[in-house]
């Protein structure tokens, strides 16, 4: 079966700094894969390279068997940024943001049709934010904002989802809501790659994980990847517990 996301020998340099070194990675259709590593380990760079936001020195990326550009043009790649990456003062409502997931399906003036409004409603329902559809995005909790960004990817009907730290700074209810939706997506055949510090939720959500520290340190079934030895290697700290507290809590 063709992987939904295939990364081969990916190397990214920022000037003299080697951000990613010969990274190989594959996510199958209907699979959720965890991307674990400390800050600065290259998780975000990997996402940015897959999305075509940073130039790569070597290696290639394939999405759904084709070029990433092709997949992007068809709206097949969804990206859920960290909530902190979004301007919370921006004067748009929750529904406005989710509707932006549909812009590539609209004409050049981006005038929404009935199907677009229906998709927004359905997406908001799935993340349990229907009542807040008219709320300005700054007047939400961090977790609710995370769900809005996930709803945008749902409205987009992306087949491959990249989530950057979806559980950082998120309340328990939102974490559960996000996890639940991701499970449904995977069951429907979508592919999910999510970066996280939150090692506790990872085994429930992702059968497979990749441990990253500029290069792939370990990959395989999550339980086998998250061994104390591997984590010590990835986080450069003692036990997994301290690693999690050291980098995940903020």
């Amino acid at each position: 079966m063709t992987p939904a996301l295939q990364v081969r020998g990916l190397t990214v340099r920022y000037r003299e700094v080697l951000a990613l070194d010969d990274v190989h990675l594959a996510v199958a259709p209907g699979e959720a894969c965890g991307l674990v590593g400390m800050n600065g380990s290259g998780k975000s760079t990997l996402f940015r390279a897959v999305l075509g936001l940073v130039p790569t020195s070597r290696g290639d990326v394939e999405v759904l068997g084709g070029s990433p550009q092709h997949a992007r043009a068809r709206g097949e790649v969804g990206y859920v940024p960290q909530t902190d990456d979004v301007d919370r003062d921006f004067p748009v409502s929750v529904a406005d943001v989710v509707l932006m997931g549909r812009y590539h399906l609209m004409g050049w003036r981006r005038r929404p049709r009935a199907a677009d409004h229906a998709a927004v409603e359905a997406a908001l329902d799935r993340v349990r934010l229907t009542e807040l559809a008219g709320r300005q995005i700054g007047r939400l909790s961090g977790g609710q904002r995370q769900r809005v960004l996930l709803a945008r990817a749902l409205a987009q009907q992306a087949r491959v989802l990249l989530l950057d730290e979806p559980f950082t700074g998120v309340d328990a209810a939102s974490e559960a809501a996000v996890s639940s939706v991701l499970r449904e997506l995977v069951a429907d055949g979508c592919s999910v790659l999510l970066s996280t510090h939150d090692l506790a939720t990872l085994p429930d959500l992702c059968e497979r994980s990749v441990l990253l520290h500029r290069r792939v340190l370990a990959e395989g079934p999550t339980a086998q990847v998250l061994t104390p030895e591997n984590l010590a290697l990835a986080f450069g700290l003692g036990t997994p517990g301290s690693a999690r507290r050291g980098t995940g809590a903020r």
Partner: protein, 316 residues
């Protein structure tokens, strides 16, 4: 306000022309200012309006319409700022500062060696009471073009301002949208130049958007409020300049500043007085928010737990 004085003021042809030019410039600037303020590109408006100076002078020297030179130098400055920022480690404000002051200074030098043909104060502060027919046609045509593009592409511009990464991810040409926005900025500066001059165009490109931002939390409403305020300020400012026999462009911008001050003090949502009032009244205006917030959280948890258990049994 004395109505006779208003009728009298706008009875003169030169006053009508001044009003027309200022209103057109105000509308286009105000629309654009909404996105500039939201992206954080206010300084870019500052830069482009100053950088057009040598273009204007050169246009006069070569007998071209001033818009041609101004547009070329406006776009050139934007490109130069982008180049400096991307090829050095300088932050954007430094790149903007270096480029626009240098280009502006070059313009000042050009003016000084062509004293008989160009009146620097007209370029810097506008000469709205002395606009020619050619100028009016130019302002109307360019203003209409800028207005049409801004209105038709408003949703793309908003997406670009809000989340250009998402625009890129869903396959839209985010860089092109950014380039269009900067091109529109150069075009708008050319329009505003005639009405208020280089220096005060900066105000028209920032203040109406900033004011509207204080008054609403929806961009769709900002795009109505900002031009409305700007037009009101244009009318009041031009009339006041007649009544007081004072600088018209200066008064238009002072009016915009006053409108901002009023919004700052009295905005129903973010006004200073309102916030103080809300504190004293125990946050009366915000009571609804926390209630529905907890309700939504509640439904989130309840619905999540059952489906979690079925995971892993379904394979694609």
């Amino acid at each position: 306000m004395n109505l006779d004085l208003v009728t009298e003021a706008f009875g003169f042809a030169f006053m009508q022309r001044a009003l027309l030019v200022t209103v057109v410039a105000s509308i286009v600037c105000a629309l654009l200012s909404c996105w500039l303020v939201l992206i954080g590109w206010s300084l870019m408006g500052d830069a482009v309006s100053h950088a057009v100076l040598p273009g204007v002078v050169l246009s006069y020297l070569f007998g071209l319409p001033f818009a041609v030179g101004a547009f070329v130098f406006g776009i050139g400055a934007v490109a130069l700022i982008g180049t400096v920022r991307e090829t050095t480690r300088l932050k954007e404000d430094a790149a903007i500062g270096v480029v626009f002051t240098t280009v502006f200074a070059f313009g000042v030098v050009l003016v000084s060696v062509t004293p008989s043909q160009v009146d620097l104060s007209h370029i810097l502060f506008g000469n709205v009471l002395g606009v020619s027919d050619v100028d009016i046609v130019q302002v109307l045509v360019l203003g209409a073009v800028a207005f049409a593009v801004l209105v038709l592409l408003r949703r793309d511009l908003t997406l670009y301002s809000f989340d250009r990464v998402h625009a890129h991810v869903i396959g839209l040409r985010a860089r092109r949208t950014g380039a269009i926005l900067l091109g529109l900025l150069a075009l708008t500066v050319v329009v505003a130049l005639q009405a208020v001059g280089v220096v005060l165009a900066v105000a028209m490109l920032i203040t109406p958007g900033a004011t509207a931002f204080l008054l609403t939390d929806r961009i769709s409403r900002m795009l109505l409020i900002a031009p409305t305020i700007a037009v009101a300020c244009a009318v009041v400012g031009i009339w006041a300049s007649y009544a007081l026999d004072a600088a018209s462009a200066g008064l238009v911008v002072v009016c915009q500043g006053l409108a901002f001050t009023l919004a700052y003090l009295f905005s129903p949502t973010q006004g200073l007085l309102r916030r103080h009032g809300a504190l004293r009244a125990g946050g009366r205006g915000r009571q609804r928010a926390p209630l529905s917030l907890t309700a939504a959280e509640g439904t989130g948890v309840g619905s999540v737990l059952p489906s979690a258990e079925t995971d892993g049994t379904r394979a694609p």
